[in-house]
Subunit: 468 residues, 2 copies
Amino acid sequence: MVDSWVNSAELFGADLHLELSGGGGRRAALIRALREAVRGGRLAPGTRLPPYRSLAADLGVARNTVADAYAELVAEGWLTARQGSGTRVAQRVEPLGAPRVPRKAPRARGPLHDLRQGTPDASAFPRLAWAASYRRALTRAPNEAFGPGDPAGRVELREALAEYLARARGVRTEPSRIVVCSGFAHALRLLFHGRVLRGPLAVESYGLGFHRELLAAASVRTVPLPLDENGAQVDGLDRERAVLLTPAHQFPTGGPLHPERRAAVVDWARARGGVVLEDDYDGEFRYDRKPVGAVQGLDPDRVVLIGSVSKSLSPALRLGWMVLPERFVDAVVEAKGEREAWASVPDQLALADFVTSGAYDRHVRRMRQRYRGRRDRLVAALAAHAPHIEVTGIAAGLHAVLRLPPGTERSVVKAAAWQGVALDGLAGFRHPAAKGDAPDGLVVGYATPPEHAYSAAVEALCGALPPG
Amino acid sequence: MVDSWVNSAELFGADLHLELSGGGGRRAALIRALREAVRGGRLAPGTRLPPYRSLAADLGVARNTVADAYAELVAEGWLTARQGSGTRVAQRVEPLGAPRVPRKAPRARGPLHDLRQGTPDASAFPRLAWAASYRRALTRAPNEAFGPGDPAGRVELREALAEYLARARGVRTEPSRIVVCSGFAHALRLLFHGRVLRGPLAVESYGLGFHRELLAAASVRTVPLPLDENGAQVDGLDRERAVLLTPAHQFPTGGPLHPERRAAVVDWARARGGVVLEDDYDGEFRYDRKPVGAVQGLDPDRVVLIGSVSKSLSPALRLGWMVLPERFVDAVVEAKGEREAWASVPDQLALADFVTSGAYDRHVRRMRQRYRGRRDRLVAALAAHAPHIEVTGIAAGLHAVLRLPPGTERSVVKAAAWQGVALDGLAGFRHPAAKGDAPDGLVVGYATPPEHAYSAAVEALCGALPPG
């Protein structure tokens, strides 16, 4: 930036003050100043501008500078130049109008205590380790990484994921059957909007509302499967073309799918030509024993496994993956398209480095310990302050379910809100067509608050629970 | 990783060799080994496994280790355990099948000389400066940046863009009217699939085929506007609801939209309630004079400006922006959705730093010089070797158009391919419903090859041109 300079010119008979400031030299400054004068209404539409030489003399700049500036503004449509009529202010420049009231960003002003499920502790993002992986990846990347790429995702990442998922989740695949995406919702859109799969789709009778909405938007009918203590009742599967399950940790009620049902759902898929969608959303976070391997390992040709770093690292990275039966790969890549909505290539390369360097394992281990500690504190606090409240779904994941006396859910959620605690009742996760009992309960996400704020959040929660 | 160890066990009467290797201790190794034995068929479905104690003794491990491993594999569905029948291999484990033939990645094995338009020189990506911005951004970011975010994009980036676009492109906006996206195609999808805008949409009679396809997929009818030496003939606009233009540099024919037409299209939008979509795909790259400001500045309430870093930095970042009239902002953010297809937040923060630190200006300036040099070399080579070929559209951008004698385009493209030169003829860019002349020509992208390969590419091109 050069020094700013201010000048005034006897323009059009009146004293028009032009502020010729900012970078880029006098020509650029004059263009900006004239543009602002037109925008601000100080130069009214139709006004005739002075000849180059007069303005140049007034401003103490070269004649060419003024001629250039006029030509530029004519090219941009601010001024018009016509033979015999000189240069005039154009008619059509509209003021920008008052600044709009800023849209409220979601969660921009969060509650005092955020115990909503779904997001990891944002304060625990491994900034240094991630930046180191990013830098390493950027340094090592071949030039073609910065050109147009493969919609399936970088091969470095697909190789790292194939190895990692085999080791950590019992997944059986190879890099060419993995497609990188931006997360679970993106995967659903590719599969259903992209017509790789069609409905009707069986789903668990409790799940995320926005998945149901996304499916409805793709005209996919969802059929709820009842849940019991062994997970989804997959023997109810019939003519559906696919089933969406959370086998490692039913979302949100919290139990794993029983081994016999894991087997049964694969048998159903084989017998009926169906497809199992395995939402492996928090498979890494199991506290009291080793993680249960993915159903995908039982039949890689019948199961689509979908995972992401949204729970393990951060939803801000928008990085996920689909492990696909071979016959779906081309259609999914086709649905993804050559130009759109790929995940950032540098981030893909950084994640590949993060996984292969062992940093991902270290981070998951650290977070597993932290979340287990939080779960233990939650369970202990409830045992001390609300021993009549049953806590379930605590063997894994980033949330627990508190069972409530019938008919109390809404008032407890409201009471919690009064205490500054944001959390969700079970009712919001229930499929509208679900049959059978609709138990009252709270879904308590214990991962979201930063470490220092967690105890106060649990305390406030206990204060909002109904007396025993 | 612990040391690997190998052992063999007298299993089921036969000598079954179990490789107990890899990390995670003996329990994990045993689980892996048994899983592999089942997968590989060495343990056939239905086979009864030995009791814990015998296998434990054979392998020299604790009984609990074996019991744990069996339980795990039962939970995963590899084994079944039934009262009175012991632990058996389950029936349903399907082999993975032969590795699939890897899908050919687009451009994975490129031509000898790549003169296709559309991508910047991948070897010129500013790795160090970008990594520095990324690291700085990651260090400075508030914790909430790693949590669920604002679908409109990070405010840091929207602020940086508002300032930059005002300065460099004459755009009039404010951060709250900018929505971050993954590039031009994503912007089109949000606008039309998201039903923010509807067809029919007027387009220039020459443009990118994949834009037309994307619009057709959203059931948007496109109506071609003829082009002449002043750009699109916008006086032909009638009842269309919107018009998509490349005012700074018509793609691919290369001229800027005439000032009177810039004014006329805004007048049309005002009179008819229409919307102008301004594809500002290479606005920064003008060589012989300062860039023409964006049409958006003439009327921010009638023009949607869409830009990205795909030409200025790299398409691998998947980062773009939409500058919107206020009334469209909420609908676009709604179409974007809360969870899907956002651009990577760390990359957004890195770009904000890259722009505000001046690194973006420096990079654009450097690339402008490089591309101008390439353009000059192309023009000089043609003047020397093919003086009868007219070169047009060279005042700006990353490509030029070579006019060919009527009826020769297809054979010249074919001759170029024989010389190892990949480039496109004009015909592929023509709207199927375009009327009037269909001139023969070549679209020569001069940005794609790395610097060292450019001269040879130009030479090969000259060798493929028809004699004068």
